[in-house]
Symmetry: C2
Subunit: 183 residues, 2 copies
Amino acid sequence: MSSLSSAELRIPVVTAAAVREFARGGYHGTTIADVAAAARISPAYVFKLFPGKERLFVAALEDCFQQIVETLTIAAEEATGSGPDGILDAMGGAYAQLISDRSLLMLQVHAQSVADVPEIGQALRAGLASVVRLAKARSGASDEAVQRFIAYGQLCHLIVTTGVDDVTDDWAVLVARGIRHPA
Amino acid sequence: MSSLSSAELRIPVVTAAAVREFARGGYHGTTIADVAAAARISPAYVFKLFPGKERLFVAALEDCFQQIVETLTIAAEEATGSGPDGILDAMGGAYAQLISDRSLLMLQVHAQSVADVPEIGQALRAGLASVVRLAKARSGASDEAVQRFIAYGQLCHLIVTTGVDDVTDDWAVLVARGIRHPA
DNA sequence: CTGATCAGTGAGTGACCAATCACTCTATTG
DNA sequence: CAATAGAGTGATTGGTCACTCACTGATCAG
């Protein structure tokens, strides 16, 4: 069994830094230097670990969805026996908690905005596919309920990105009511 | 009554070009030169009409929401007497038709991605506020129904940005079912 | 005609950034 | 002790872009 080289060990560290930095600035608004600084390596070395900015972003996005899938899986297992809607509800709660630091949420929003880059769109669809299939399979809920689960997740993204949860006007309260949002 | 100067007449033309171009490339992915070329003026002249890129983007976003509000208003008026849910449904249909060229939809998605720029976030909240208030006031539907209207609108954005409507897998069909999407 | 105002542009400038390359340093191996 | 391979970086490069400035040409009042 070959042990991991030091470079291979750094890849997940850089990926995690990329998740944070791309979540902050988006694809075009984040530089390789930003990610390198967050990972405490030189910008040049980032290009030895990843072939380019695009692949680095894709790696971050894949990491993001992997965390989501893991979290939802655990939540579904813990809610076994609550019935389909109960399981979906538990998944929603776990998701709300997971994205409380906003990184995983913002990265998805930024990814949507550059989904016309083929590799990024593909990664986004793959991530969405895994989440939808997971929600359907683990909850056993109806297609309509799963679709609603996704729709209200997107509503949650809107609320967070626009900062609606800091507004107390009537319309804002209406939009955010009952949505579990970051503390 | 003073007639509009030729510069004032150009502003809406440039704004319309900005909507199209920013919708294509997003805030960071679109240059002033792109917008200028689409409006058939020189890049330098854009800066005589708008103080900077940020304000130009905000103007485009405001124009986007104004079109949405107008469209929804007309749809609501035409559906008078269909009951709250019928009016909301008519508004949803009108919205689906309006965004069939994707510009108004993509611009909103890109705006979400740069909503941490204060002026853009503010414009986004203002636009969202006007849409929510309009939907509530004209339909008279419950808060829950209006919230669902917004949530499924966001789901529609997700479907279009990720190109899910071109995928025929089970999960994709589930997500997009019943959502009126661009032709 | 004169001069002033406005529309509109070409040619920059300074800053920034993705990607590359040549290089150093360290550790291991024979 | 060489020799080699991998880790890691500094310096650079070629290109892009927001924004500026000095300028031209047109229009029009007096």
